[in-house]
Amino acid sequence: MQTIIDIKDATYKYKGARNNSLMGVSMQVKKGETILLCGASGSGKTTLIRLINGLIPHYYNGELQGSICVKEKDVSKTPLYNLAGTVGTVFQNPRSQFFSVDTDGEIVFGPENIGIAPKEILKRKDNIIEQMKLNKLMGRNLFELSGGQKQRIACASVAALLPEIILLDEPSSNLDLQSISELGKITRKWKEQGKTVIISEHRLWYVKDFVDRVIYMKDGVIANEWAGERFKKLGEKEIRKLKLRPLLLNEKFSNILCFKSGQKSFKRMEETDSIILKDFYFSYKRKPYIFRKKKFTQSDGEHLNLCVQNLAIPKGKIIGVIGSNGMGKSTFLRCICGLEKDCTGVIKTDGMVYKGRARIPVSYMVMQDVNHQLFTDSVKEEVLLSMKEKDEERCYCILESLGLLEYKDTHPMALSGGQKQRVAIASAVAAGASLLLFDEPTSGLDYSHMEKVGDLLKQLAAMGKTVLVSTHDPELIERCCEYLLCVNNGKVEYV
C-alpha cells in the first residue's frame, strides 16, 4: 500500500513557548488507514494534526525541523490552498469553524474557493446531503443549530472538497452521546469510502471499533503504538495507567444518558434538608403580548421549555443534570440563577424565600466558556469584585483553599483553562452563593483533568455548597455525582 503521509523526525516549538510541542516525531500513514491519536492535553496531538494540514508552518509561527510529506508533496513548500482539496480538517470547536451564516453556504464554501464549476458543486452538495442525511438541516441559520448539528455540517463541508485525507481534532468535545455516535457513523463511512482518516480524541468508545492503528502521544513524542485490534483488548487497568478515558461506556450511565430504559439505579430523594425550587416555568416562544409580558404558568403545557412545579435539591450534595442537547438543561440552569427574568420561580432554603432578583446572589453559574466571566486584571481583584465588603483576608483564604494563592497577582487570562475555572469558582464562593451551577465543566478535557474537576466539585460539596452540574460526561458522573436529574423536554426528574 502506498504511503500517503510521511513525517520524518519533526520537532516543533510554538513561538514564545518554553518547550517543544513535538520532539522528533516520525510516522508513516498508508492510504486508507484510520488512525486514532490519543494522549493527555498538551501532548502534541493538535500540533501533529496541524503539521499534516499545513497550518504549521503556514499559519502558526514557530520553529520547525524535519520534513512532512503529504501525497509526495512537501507541506512546508506547498501553499495552503493547494492542500485544500487533499486534506480536510474538522476542528474541535463547532462555534468557530464556520465561514457562512447559513448551512447551504457553508457546504459549498470550500469547493467555491478552489474554483470548481457551480454545476459540479451543486451535484456534490446533493450527494453529501443524501449520504449524511442532512435534509432537515438545510436552509437553516448556523447560529441556531445545536453543537452536534453544527459538527455534522462541519463534516459535510469538509467532505464536499472530496479530500483523500480527513483529520478530526477532538471533534466530540462539545457533543452529547447521541451526537457522538452520529459522528462515529460518519467517520466509519469515510473509512469505508477508502479515505485516510486521522482522529485525535479523548473519548475512545466511539472510535475504538474501527481504527486500524492507535498512536499514544506523551510530552511531544510517540510513546506507544498499537494495532486497532490489540488496543481494543487492553484492560481497564492499562487504560487507567495511560490516563486515558475508558474504552467502554459504562452501560448504566449510557442507558440513562440515552434514555434507553427507565432504570432507577440512583439514590432517590430522601433527605429532608433541601433547597426547594417552586414554580419554575419558562418558554422562549413568547406569546405576542405587546404591552405586558405574559407570566408563564403550568397551563402553557406544550409551549414550555421548562416546567418545574416543585423540585427538592438535597443540600451539600453533587447533583448531575443530564439530557440530550436542546432538551432544556441550560435553560434549567439559567432559570435557577435568575438569568431569565421572565421565569418567576421561587427558591426556598433555610426557611428563606427568594424571589425575582433576590435569587441572583443565592446561586452562581460557572459557564462552559469561563472566559466570559473573568473581568478584572488580577485573580485577587476578581475575587474581591464579588465581595460586598472587600475583605482581603477572606479573599486569601478562598484562594488558598482552591490552590490559587500563588497566582493572586496574575492576569486571569494568562492562566490555564482549569485554573480559570477555579478563579470563577473562587469568585462564586466569595459572593456567598450556596448553590453552584456548572455548565458542562469537563467538555474537551482529558481523563486526568476531568478527575481534577471531579475532586474540586467534591471539595465544594464538602464546604457545604450544593452543586448542580450539567454534563454529558459519564466518567464525571460516575466519579462524583450522588444524585442524577434528567431534563427531558423541559420536565425535570430524578433518575
Partner: protein, 233 residues
C-alpha cells in the same frame, strides 16, 4: 408576494440612503422623498417576515417625525425641548440609514455578498475582510450576551459603580473571545481553500429583475433631486 432583491440593488440602496441622510431636507418634496426611502426598507423588512423589527423601526421613526413636525419649532426653549429636539433630529436624520443597513445585513447571505463583490471586480482582500465582518456580527452578539449574563450573575451592573470599569469589564472579555474565535475561524477557512489563487466560483446566480431596475431608477432619482436642490440654491 415575496420580493427578493438582488444584492447589488441593496448595496445601491445603502449608498443612496447614506448620501441622502447626510443632506438636509429643506422643503416638502425633499421631506417626502426622505420618507419614501425610509418606508421602502421597512416594507422590505415586512416582506422578509421581520415583522417585529419593522414595527419597532416604524414606531420609532413615526414618533420622532411626528414630534419634530408638531411640537418643535424655532421658538421652543428650555432644556427638555433642547433634549427632545436633539434626540428626534438624530433619529429622523440617521434612522433611515440604520434601517437600510439593518435590512441589508439581515437579508443578504454571505455567499451572495462575495459573489456581488466579485462581479464588481473588487479586490479579494476587501471582499474577504468585509465577509468576515458580516460573519462576525452574530458572533459578537452571542459573546456579548454571555458576558452580560455573567455580569448579571455577579450583580455588576451599570449604575452600581464606576462607569468606566463597567465598560472595561464588558469590552475586555469580549475582545479576548473575539480574537480567539477569529483566529480559529481563519485557520478553519484557509484549510478549506480560502485565498486560493484560482478564480473563486459561486453557486449563487445573480440576476437583476424588473423590480430591481425600478428600485435603482427610483433611488437614482432621489439622489439626483437631492444633489440638484443642494447645488442649485
Amino acid at each position: 408576494m415575496t420580493v427578493r432583491l438582488d444584492p447589488r440593488t441593496k448595496l445601491y440602496m445603502i449608498f443612496v440612503v447614506s448620501a441622502v441622510v447626510m443632506m438636509s431636507a429643506t422643503n416638502s418634496l425633499l421631506w417626502a422623498l426622505r420618507i419614501v426611502v425610509t418606508i421602502l426598507p421597512i416594507a422590505f423588512l415586512i416582506m422578509e417576515k421581520y415583522y417585529a423589527s419593522a414595527l419597532r423601526f416604524l414606531i420609532l421613526y413615526v414618533t420622532a417625525l411626528g414630534i419634530t413636525f408638531t411640537c418643535l419649532s424655532e421658538k421652543s426653549t428650555g432644556f427638555f425641548m433642547a433634549f427632545l429636539l436633539g434626540y428626534c433630529s438624530i433619529i429622523v436624520q440617521f434612522l433611515p440609514a440604520m434601517i437600510t443597513a439593518w435590512y441589508v445585513l439581515r437579508t443578504t447571505k454571505i455567499d451572495e455578498f462575495i459573489c456581488v463583490m466579485q462581479k464588481m471586480h473588487m479586490p479579494d482582500g476587501i471582499t474577504i475582510s468585509l465577509a468576515v465582518v458580516m460573519r462576525f456580527f452574530p458572533t459578537i452578539k452571542e459573546e456579548y450576551t454571555s458576558i452580560r449574563d455573567a455580569m448579571k450573575m455577579r450583580e455588576i451592573m451599570l449604575g452600581t459603580g464606576n462607569v468606566i470599569k463597567m465598560v472595561e469589564y464588558r469590552i475586555i472579555p469580549l475582545m479576548f473571545s473575539c480574537v480567539n474565535i477569529g483566529d480559529e475561524l481563519s485557520a478553519a477557512a484557509i484549510t478549506r481553500g480560502l485565498g486560493e489563487k484560482v478564480k473563486r466560483t459561486s453557486v449563487v446566480e445573480l440576476k437583476m429583475k424588473v423590480y430591481d431596475y425600478l428600485l435603482v431608477i427610483l433611488f437614482s432619482v432621489v439622489l439626483i433631486v437631492y444633489v440638484v436642490f443642494r447645488n442649485v440654491k
